[in-house]
């Protein structure tokens, strides 16, 4: 019961934040809406018992990536969004596409929810434990892990090169 209530509360916050992201015209408002979405997602992760994921969700997404966004918005001193009509296709093709996509997936999930089980609030167990995830990450997923470190390195260098002023 508590689980469901909490889920609904945070889920609604999530959706509201996401909608606000769409509605707000100023990028910084959108960014803050997204931070709200991420924070409440972190709480939902906690509900699912994934505390490590929740923590890095906050640290990486809210604390690093979104700060970077805010920083860039401030750096470029971006103003409110212009209402241009650059693409009719986005409206004519894209929006129906999204509606169909959401509708079909939603219909599938709703119709199939009976066959899926439920998830529980997980008490103190090995589920979200940092140890377990670390073990998995450094054993089964060692190679992907190392590859992502290379990816990050490349991304850093790319960002440096791109951000450098040519003189």
């Amino acid at each position: 019961m508590v689980h469901q209530v909490l889920f609904i509360v945070f889920g609604l916050i999530c959706v509201a934040g996401a909608i606000n992201l769409l509605v707000q015209r100023h990028p910084i408002s959108s960014a803050l809406s997204l931070v709200v979405v991420m924070a409440s997602l972190a709480l939902i992760y906690l509900l699912l018992g994934a505390e490590f994921v929740a923590a890095i969700q906050v640290i990486v997404y809210a604390g690093a990536i979104m700060v970077l966004f805010v920083f860039v918005i401030m750096l470029l001193n971006a103003g409110a969004e212009e209402r241009t009509r650059g693409s009719r296709m986005a409206l004519i093709v894209g929006v129906p596409g999204v509606i169909i996509l959401a509708g079909t997936v939603g219909w599938m999930l709703v119709s199939g929810s009976g066959r899926l089980g439920g998830v529980n609030l997980v008490g103190p167990s090995s589920f979200g434990e940092t140890h377990a995830i670390a073990r998995l990450l450094f054993k089964e997923f060692l190679l992907p892990f190392e590859i992502t470190s290379v990816l990050i390195l490349i991304a850093i260098m790319g960002a440096v090169v791109l951000g450098k002023r040519e003189n």
């Binding site: 997404y61 860039v72 470029l76 089980g117 791109l162």
Partner: protein
């Protein structure tokens, strides 16, 4: 007890809103944020499934318990890399085009 489908539906809603944001927003930074929103939506379903397989263990060895959480980790790494490079690109674009409106950054065409 919350049905798994609730989480998945929430994930789907967030994802669709992300796609809509991509379609409807003009500011390139906001579009980028929409992408992050989509990634987050996917992460949610990853975690939900991780929990689901944890509470519904199966004999199938191909399902590694907790791997959903590890995938979230990887998604975050990719998102971070993407954010770093993407924002650098945005800054570069802004320097040359003096605008963040994607409708005005449309020279890459025939």
């Amino acid at each position: 007890m919350v049905p798994l489908s609730w989480y998945l539906i929430l994930s789907g809603i967030l994802f669709s809103l992300g796609v809509l944001g991509f379609l409807l927003k003009r500011n390139i930074i906001t579009i980028f944020m929409s992408i992050e929103l989509m990634l987050n939506a996917v992460n949610l379903s990853f975690v939900a499934f991780a929990n689901y397989w944890h509470t519904h263990p199966v004999a199938d060895k191909s399902i590694v318990p907790l791997s959903g959480q590890v995938f979230v980790f990887f998604v975050m790494v990719v998102a971070a890399a993407e954010a770093a490079v993407g924002l650098a690109i945005i800054i570069a674009v802004f320097r040359t085009r003096e605008t963040l409106n994607v409708d005005r950054v449309n020279l890459l065409k025939l």
